[in-house]
């Protein structure tokens, strides 16, 4: 499989996994909550492609399924976790937002993860095995004070941590204009942290930039703050969307699957998609049959 095909396949699987979750919710086969990643798949896929899951660490947030699948490829463990099955990666105790598997962690309180990821990066700096820690943040997280304490610590102590800010322009229902003042990258720069800003849904662009950024963190042992402007097509959670449908439709033209899919011939794309559908169907069947936690 070519790199382009791999990235597309990974994004497609994440997309269909999340859509399936929403379907299962609608069918009453899931309870609780989920925060889908639909529309943002290029970020997790392009960045995590450059991590070594045996060495590097990811700390994600409430919208963590895409990161989790890109890092672990453990669809069955995740679906069981969300469905409250005993085979869930945390035995059903964590649910959608609270995952742990090897070097992957997530937690559901916005901003709360940033100091913990910073501590992980400190531990990894001390261990000296060259691990990069990634903390995934959203624009909504920028309202939390601990983010800035952690940026200060990461720079002060020279920690090998990459802060990825996936800016989807909405904190739940609140648009950026009502919750963010000033310039986002300037916030990190003020702490002496290098930054980069992408405005793209093209996984190839994310992947190229991430290759350099991840290597830069590994080489310098210094923090880096990467902002990616993105968009989520699905509601914040489920059925709680008050955005203008026209705005969402307009953004759909930049759907990362459309952008990346256009680079594949139809037969290849079809065959990748079919393989994903088959794998997903099997995962769903197994999870539905699995024992309750």
């Amino acid at each position: 499989m070519t790199a382009t095909e791999q990235l597309y396949e990974r994004m497609y699987f994440i997309r269909r996994f999340e859509e399936t979750l929403l379907d299962l919710f609608s069918a009453g086969k899931l309870v609780g909550t989920t925060h889908t990643y639909i529309g943002q798949e290029a970020n997790a896929t392009g960045i995590i492609a450059h991590l070594d899951p045996d060495r590097d660490v990811v700390f994600s947030n409430h919208r963590c399924h895409g990161h989790y699948l890109a890092f672990t490829d453990d669809a069955y463990g995740l679906l069981c976790e969300v469905m409250g099955r005993a085979d869930g990666v945390c035995g059903g105790k964590g649910g959608s937002q609270h995952l742990c598997n090897g070097n992957f962690y997530s937690n559901g309180v916005l901003g709360s993860i940033v100091p913990v990821a910073t501590g992980i990066a400190l531990a990894e700096r001390e261990r000296g095995a060259g691990a990069v820690t990634i903390a995934f943040l959203g624009d909504g997280t920028l309202g939390q004070g601990v983010v800035y304490e952690s940026l200060n610590l990461a720079s002060l102590w020279s920690l090998p941590i990459l802060f990825v800010l996936e800016n989807n322009f909405y904190a739940q229902s609140t648009p950026s204009a009502l919750q963010i003042a000033g310039d986002i990258t300037a916030r990190a720069e003020a702490f002496g942290i290098e930054t980069a800003h992408l405005d793209t849904t093209d996984v190839a662009v994310v992947e190229r930039e991430a290759a350099q950024v991840v290597q830069r963190v590994r080489d310098t042992g210094r923090p880096f703050f990467l902002v990616i402007d993105t968009y989520r097509f699905s509601p914040h959670s489920k059925g709680d969307d008050i955005r203008d449908p026209a705005e969402i439709e307009e953004r759909r033209e930049l759907d990362p699957l459309l952008v990346a899919g256009a680079r594949l011939d139809e037969a290849t794309r079809g065959s990748l998609e079919r393989a994903c559908e088959e794998r997903l169907a099997e995962v769903v069947d197994r999870a539905l049959a699995a024992e309750a936690a």
Partner: protein
């Protein structure tokens, strides 16, 4: 050799650092020559410069940083300069430190220690004098240990660092300057002293060798000298014998020594420096009446601070915080004696 408690804790830290190379200490102003606001870390950064990190004033994040280190196999000790500042870390404590192990299905442990001094009587005022242990008692997944001047502080801190659970190791500002008083031949200041088993032992003092008496006084930490003084005064001035249980572990609450004592005395008075409502005493009282109703011959009394601020003026502070007179009065009330 007589040693002040701060010095004992300081030597314990040096020993722990010598013994384990996975231990780090983080805190504000902990580097030499300053050596921490209460000097407990004096000398540590000189001996172990790579493992003692002085930090910005960022408590809200530092709890998370310690959690992150612990998740990755290190054993950080976080020094929080004043117990009051633990309040800044509550998101990390409630939504992270207390939860990670269980919500991640035991895939992780969090072997971290938070050391912090609680307590007033130094005129520091409303935000630097509180005893906030009760807030930590409501958090599942953490262990709260209360150090006192009669505990083996060296062993207590060492056990906390070796513990795989997150431990809040509560020290006391007045205790730092007081002499550690270990039982000699089973006695402290003429009171018989029995230590329970386990990592974080409780101490049971009794005025008579036979044990028993008018009431059990259950307390912890910095209240120890006050309660022991009250116990002595009750003997000398009122001929009332009591037992004093000084708890080593507040959460999960080690109840057994209290129950054993209540079985002998038939009455319980809880004594704490923190405010009364929802306090440590309330939890002890609830559990003792659940477990030992038949042993109780009197209603349980609670001695605590009034629900309010701790004023800065020493006279007002003294009026606010429970003292020897309050403890004596509570025992007299239990006895049905009006003094």
């Amino acid at each position: 050799m007589e040693q002040r408690c701060a010095q004992v804790l300081n030597e314990a830290l040096l020993e722990i650092f010598e013994r384990r190379d996975d231990v780090y200490l983080l805190g504000e102003d902990v580097l030499d020559p300053y050596g921490g606001a209460f000097k407990v870390t004096q000398g540590l950064s000189t001996r172990f410069p790579d493992r003692v990190l002085t930090t910005p004033i960022s408590e809200a994040s530092l709890f998370g940083v310690a959690a992150g280190m612990a998740l990755r196999g290190y054993r950080p000790i976080l020094e929080i300069m004043f117990g009051d500042f633990v309040a800044l870390g509550f998101d990390q404590i409630v939504n992270g430190i207390g939860k990670f192990r269980e919500m991640f299905d035991d895939q992780v442990t969090l072997p971290l220690v938070v050391r912090t001094p609680m307590g007033g009587r130094r005129g520091y005022g409303p935000t630097h004098s509180q005893s906030l242990e009760k807030l930590l008692l409501g958090v599942p997944g953490i262990t709260v240990v209360a150090a006192s001047e009669c505990h083996d502080l060296r062993a207590l801190l060492s056990e906390a660092v070796d513990d795989d659970e997150p431990v809040f190791f509560v020290e006391n500002k007045l205790m730092y300057g007081r002499t550690q008083r270990r039982p000699e031949n089973g006695y402290v200041d003429g009171l018989r002293c029995v230590e329970s088993d386990g990592r974080y032992p409780s101490l049971t003092f009794s005025g008579s060798d036979a044990g028993g008496g008018s009431a059990t006084l259950a307390t912890y930490g910095g209240m120890l000298p006050i309660v022991l003084e009250a116990a002595t005064r009750l003997i000398l001035e009122h001929e009332l014998f009591t037992e004093v249980v000084v708890l080593g572990r507040l959460h999960p609450l080690e109840l057994e020594p209290v129950l054993e004592s209540v079985a002998r005395t038939g009455a319980l008075v809880t004594v704490e420096e923190g405010t009364r409502t929802g306090g440590v005493g309330a939890e002890i009282a609830a559990r003792v009446q659940e477990a030992a109703w038949d042993d109780l011959h009197r209603p349980i009394e609670r001695v605590a601070a009034r629900d309010g601020i701790i004023p800065a003026a020493r006279t007002l502070e003294d009026a606010m915080l429970p003292g020897v007179d309050d403890v004596v009065a509570a025992v007299m009330a239990v006895e049905g004696v009006r003094g």
